[in-house]
Subunit: 333 residues, 2 copies
DNA sequence: CGGAATAATACAAACGTTTGTACAACGATC
DNA sequence: GATCGTTGTACAAACGTTTGTATTATTCCG
């Protein structure tokens, strides 16, 4: 591998001059810079990033920590972040936590020891607060949180407007004439799910409908639990459900079919996340779309800008057949 | 940050002794090693990986290059690879090519300049051969290719049994009574697609059916091109399609519906990749499942083992409604 | 033309680790 | 007690870059 010293020797200058020339310092003469660049190209020089990082005390690597990389949502966030970071000259180091606290701490350590320029993360379900994050990263490494956020931590945050989204989804069901609307609510230690539940409640209140807590089904995010909760909801006389997840909504649809209910005539449903299958099934499923790619972009941009605020990425209600007794429509919140 | 020199000073030994103690060299006395380890723990020492990498000339980072990270297949491969590499003490640096040759070269350069311990990659459609890969990586950085493979390159390879898979898928269509079976074949500069096409052809031959080259539709991997090719296939009198991709298969289904054909009664289809939506749509779509997580695991293991061979990860034909005029069945190849 | 100001380059010390070689201490052997 | 091998440490030179300071070359002005 050719080094700046080789170039320096070939040109009869010192390595420092070569270094400055290549990084565009105003302290080298235009003529010298051109000569250096030419020689560097000729000799096939490429900067040793590791040495550069060691000297500078930081790298051009941005760490991203997610619970599971192969979940659709997170891989899209990563894709969005990467699209911005790559253009800005960074590369991306990925760590998974598998929802475990210990793995999260380990990932944070790994990233810090690699002297990453920053960390974008969505914390594990297993983490109750962000103390460990602060402990490991200190105040030297900028942090951007997305989706799952500890609001007490410093640094930028990127979230969805879960309250407004769930509000719009529920309101939509009301407008379609459903009157006894339940919800599959997810886990309450996640602020996102909690906000969706509140949005659902508020929409009912604002519509003059009673908020019946027996129609709220907690901890339902997979198909099986959605199915069971769906059966209960039907027995309780529900005619519609807003589900905080798509897979649980799918389970509820199964339950409704099994009970001989037609969708959307007898039973309406809106899911959340806009998973690929929702648009492709029959009848197609209405869903409150997250925008993970955009969240990734925003997180990356927040890191680049070094700003501290909270960015809210709007959700979009995709109205499809499963909730439309009236006409089809598409709402942006 | 505390360094080995700090520890050395605190104990009255030299940094080299500390370094050797921490890396378990037999050249330090057991007693000294314990003292060093204790002091390191007390002072909260963590090895500066960047400095270590510079000195050693390589890092504990493994680069993974994929066309697009948020494609289900690739994010699962990454997940599989990461599960193995993480356990072995490596971390994973991700690069996307967006199917572009130039981006692939840039990614390779980035990884080499970061002195990665190895590269796992699936090349871009835009790359016709692997010369650039060899040029950039040289023979110092081990390479493992997966899925899309240049067989002329050295290093380990992990592939699916595309020929056998496509053969089984096509044979299945024959067994279901379809007689004029076309194919959506993908890009022929990818050996995987080429092998699938051969499997399709061989299955027809072995079934005593004519191989009509006008029923082979090249370069169709997305929904739109699948739709167009689907229309052509229907006009040409096809009653079934084996598609080398799920999205193109979806497009073909649209085309069939538009032409008033019932699925599977009038028109059968089998896709490839077993995307999540295939099982959830109505009618559910048969698909030739890849095993991306396992491929990632195998690729990582091949890197760790430093072996050169080719690993074949079997595909599995998921038989669902879209191809079943007779009975439902599930085939393992 | 002298001297100050400025421009351009050279010098050298870092960054924190690893590792080959040298060295000291010690016990064993003859 | 001199010689030798062994064991444990110290010494010092890397790895390739960046960057503060010193030095030399150039320009400009009175």
């Amino acid at each position: 591998m050719v080094t700046i010293s080789d170039i320096a020797a070939a040109l009869g200058v010192t390595p420092s001059t070569v270094s400055r020339a290549l990084s565009g310092s105003p302290r080298v003469k235009e003529e010298t810079r051109l000569a250096v660049e030419k020689m560097a190209a000729e000799m096939g020089y490429e900067r040793n990033i590791v040495a550069s990082n060691l000297r500078k005390g930081r790298s051009d690597i941005v760490g991203i920590i997610v619970p599971r990389i192969h979940r659709n949502f997170f891989s899209n966030v990563i894709g969005g972040a990467e699209s911005i970071l790559e253009a800005a000259g960074y590369c991306v180091l990925i760590c998974q936590t598998h929802e475990r606290f210990e793995a999260e701490v380990k990932a944070l350590r790994t990233l810090r020891n690699n002297q990453v320029a920053g960390v974008l993360m969505s914390h594990a379900i297993g983490s109750d607060n962000g103390k460990h994050i602060l402990d490991v990263l200190g105040d030297r490494i900028p942090l951007v949180q997305f989706d799952r956020v500890f609001s007490e931590l410093p640094g930028a945050k990127v979230v969805s407007n879960n309250f407004e989204g769930a509000y719009a989804a529920t309101k939509h069901l009301v407008e379609q004439g459903y009157r006894r609307i339940g919800t599959l609510a997810g886990y309450m230690n996640s602020e996102a799910y909690a906000a969706r539940l509140e949005g659902y409640r508020q929409a009912l209140r604002d519509s003059g409908l009673p908020v019946d807590e027996s129609l709220v089904h907690y901890d339902t995010i997979v198909r099986e639990t959605g199915y069971e909760a769906g059966l209960k909801a039907i027995e309780a006389g529900c005619d519609a459900l807003y589900s905080a997840g798509d897979f649980s909504a799918l389970g509820a649809i199964e339950a409704a079919r099994e009970r001989g209910l037609r969708i959307p005539e007898d039973f309406g449903i809106v899911g959340t996340a806009n998973e690929a299958f929702t648009a492709l099934m029959t009848p197609s499923m209405s869903s409150l779309a997250l925008n993970p790619f955009e969240m990734g972009r925003q997180a990356a941009q927040a890191f680049l800008a070094g700003e501290e605020g909270t960015v809210v990425v709007p959700m979009e209600l995709k109205v499809r057949e499963s909730s439309c007794r009236n006409k089809l429509q598409n709402l942006s919140i």
